[in-house]
Symmetry: C2
Subunit: 397 residues, 2 copies
């Protein structure tokens, strides 16, 4: 398969800073073969990019995709009521088939909105794997465990691992420091080592979590997980809302990637992660929507905008988290988070052809003074009009 | 003109709390004639509402619509650079014709996104009035003044007043306590009294503003404006980010409406207004997008979602600013803010037929457990598929 996306405005997300140019992109066998600024070659199949913006597909690095089933079902309630009275009772009844259905719905939403990769953490992840395989989204699937679901988890992990392919990675997901014993956390690390995969874990989402872990183990969640070797393998730490300087030093030293979920953190009143500080310290911070029960959508454009706005408010500085930085978080830094920094998240020869075409003709795009700013502050997921994952078209409007 | 919107899911926004029902709405001569829960009458013109949600049109109570011209032109810079180096130099060159063009663009964006009323504050407001008249949006037009533009303002006010009609109200807009002398503020009040109109003013947007006013006059901006009689007339106070208990008491006692602009306040790192506290004290709080230079769109759905999320974060309580409250702010309370509480902002017999039809078939609406939650947490402006202002269709997708 060889095709050219022609005459399009390109935001390449390369390292030379916020820039864009008119050009064309040649895709061959799922990979970006070449990027042209001037004349492009004659190719049989051409996609006209006039009036459109071409960007790398967005990378959602923390979600529970099947929680779409709980969308708008548990809003505006205190966190403990949300968990104990709404989410957990509902979740306890979910069958793998339910989870498959929820995943199909959530993946449809993501692909239609330009998200081409998701990092998913849930129960019965093999059911999600089936939905991923059928829809063609790129995914890192992370079977999750808590103490009383270890047996089920090990079965799920084995089954999910059987889905591994070019588009599907697997990771082990301990739920959190407070919901898994030290023994089970170590077991998770062992299994990840055995299968040569990384980890994905909730870290310091709430003040309560921080206090519980401190009281039990005399350490912060970051310090505690580190002491158990969780960060010795490639790890995505979701949330990291309540982290201190020492925590950030550990995360940096261990190359842990932080998945920032601003909308979920605001909606559950968990707090605001110190993202500007993390970036200053050189941590890799990517973006996630979290599940639809605490968001309530899987819209990475909304998430980018909120990350920028919340970052400025939290830092007390309108120059904090500029559009360029946030767009990196949703693309380049998301790719780094899943260990694919050298082949995903940019428009560059040799990179995977995970590409999205965005209609810039709506009034909210006018005038187009700065496409990078527009992508973060004005774009909507409904502007996405074509989506390719590894060169295969997965959505067209 | 008589037509029936049939077989639709209705969120009526009446005072009996968050509810919705399947029904039909009969519109006659620009007014809602009747709301039916069961059988509806036979009418020649029927709009099929299957799979759609019918809501009152959204009311944007603080914007500078022509600032669409500066969209994505001045992002991620400190406030003083934003104002002095970007916005003001650009604004100083704007002709009435430029402002007309910017207003046409912004009104197109608003109508397409389900905003049926805007409260606009700007220079050369008569140019905005022309765009309003041509497009058919409902508007409160507020010619603005600062000390060195008083002459121009008085001309503009007279001209804008000549546009007053069923859909167009006018108010006088002193820019702010720090940019207008006491003499000019009193002059503004006099002119508003003379023309029997209300006021619209920026209040306590930033910490700097608060300090400047305290240092100059020994009062908070709220206390100072009150001492000059600004709040003796019906007033919309935009922002009110930095207000104390005494300020809120004054605003409440004087029946001042607060226009909350969460996205602009976050983007410029101005702070977070204590909205939950204001609501507890019984203040009327409505929503605004502010101008597109600090947002960067005129999307009231985004603004609702951000208001809910920021309200929870600020209050440290996920139950603060529930969806229902926020939807009220964008409809019922917006109507109250412009003195139209008894005839705008609800779906109820006798109210103006400012109505929006919203497509609920997208994946981000599924499953539709709670339409009120969905409208605030999951809906997008691009879901709006038909818009009527005073019974006249102004947009259809």
């Amino acid at each position: 398969m060889r095709f050219l996306i022609n005459n399009v405005l390109i935001i390449p997300m390369t390292d030379d800073g916020p820039r864009w140019f008119a050009g064309s992109v040649l895709v061959e066998d799922g990979v970006i073969a070449e990027v042209f600024r001037g004349d492009a070659p004659q190719v049989d199949k051409v996609v006209d990019g006039t009036g459109k913006l071409l960007m790398p597909g967005l990378i959602n690095t923390h979600t529970h995709v099947a929680m779409t089933l709980m969308r708008n079902m548990a809003d505006d309630v205190p966190l403990m009521e949300w968990l104990h009275e709404r989410v957990w009772p509902f979740e306890s009844k979910l069958t793998p088939q339910d989870i498959y259905v929820g995943a199909r719905l959530g993946i449809a939403e993501m692909l239609m909105g330009g998200t081409t990769t998701m990092v998913d953490m849930y129960w019965h992840e093999a059911a999600v794997a089936r939905a991923v395989e059928e829809t063609g989204i790129r995914a890192v699937l992370c079977p999750c465990f808590i103490d009383d679901r270890m047996g089920e988890f090990e079965t799920d992990l084995a089954e999910t691992l059987s889905f591994k392919n070019e588009l599907i990675q697997v990771r082990v997901a301990p739920h959190a420091a407070y919901s898994c014993s030290a023994e089970n956390l170590r077991r998770g690390v062992q299994l990840a080592e055995k299968h040569n995969v990384g980890l994905h874990v909730h870290v310091s989402e709430t003040r309560d979590e921080q206090e519980i872990v401190r009281n039990r183990f005399g350490k912060t969640p970051v310090g505690y997980l580190n002491s158990l070797g969780v960060f010795d393998l490639p790890t995505i730490a979701a949330h990291c809302v309540h982290v201190n300087g020492e925590d950030m030093e550990i995360l940096k030293a261990k190359n842990v990637s932080v998945a920032h979920n601003p909308q979920s953190n605001m909606k559950l009143a968990s707090g605001a992660a110190p993202v500007a500080q993390m970036l200053e310290r050189g941590l890799n911070v990517s973006l996630g929507t979290d599940g639809a029960a605490s968001n309530n959508d899987l819209d990475m454009w909304d998430e980018m905008r909120t990350a920028a706005l919340l970052g400025k408010l939290t830092a007390g500085d309108p120059a904090a988290l500029p559009a360029w930085e946030v767009l990196r978080m949703a693309t380049v830094d998301g790719a780094k988070a899943i260990g694919a920094g050298g082949k995903l998240g940019r428009i560059k020869a040799g990179y995977a052809a995970d590409l999205i075409l965005v209609d810039t003709t709506g009034p909210h795009w006018q005038p187009l003074h700065d496409p990078v700013s527009a992508a973060v502050y004005s774009a909507k997921s409904s502007d996405v009009c074509a989506v390719w994952v590894a060169g295969r078209q997965r959505f067209i409007r």
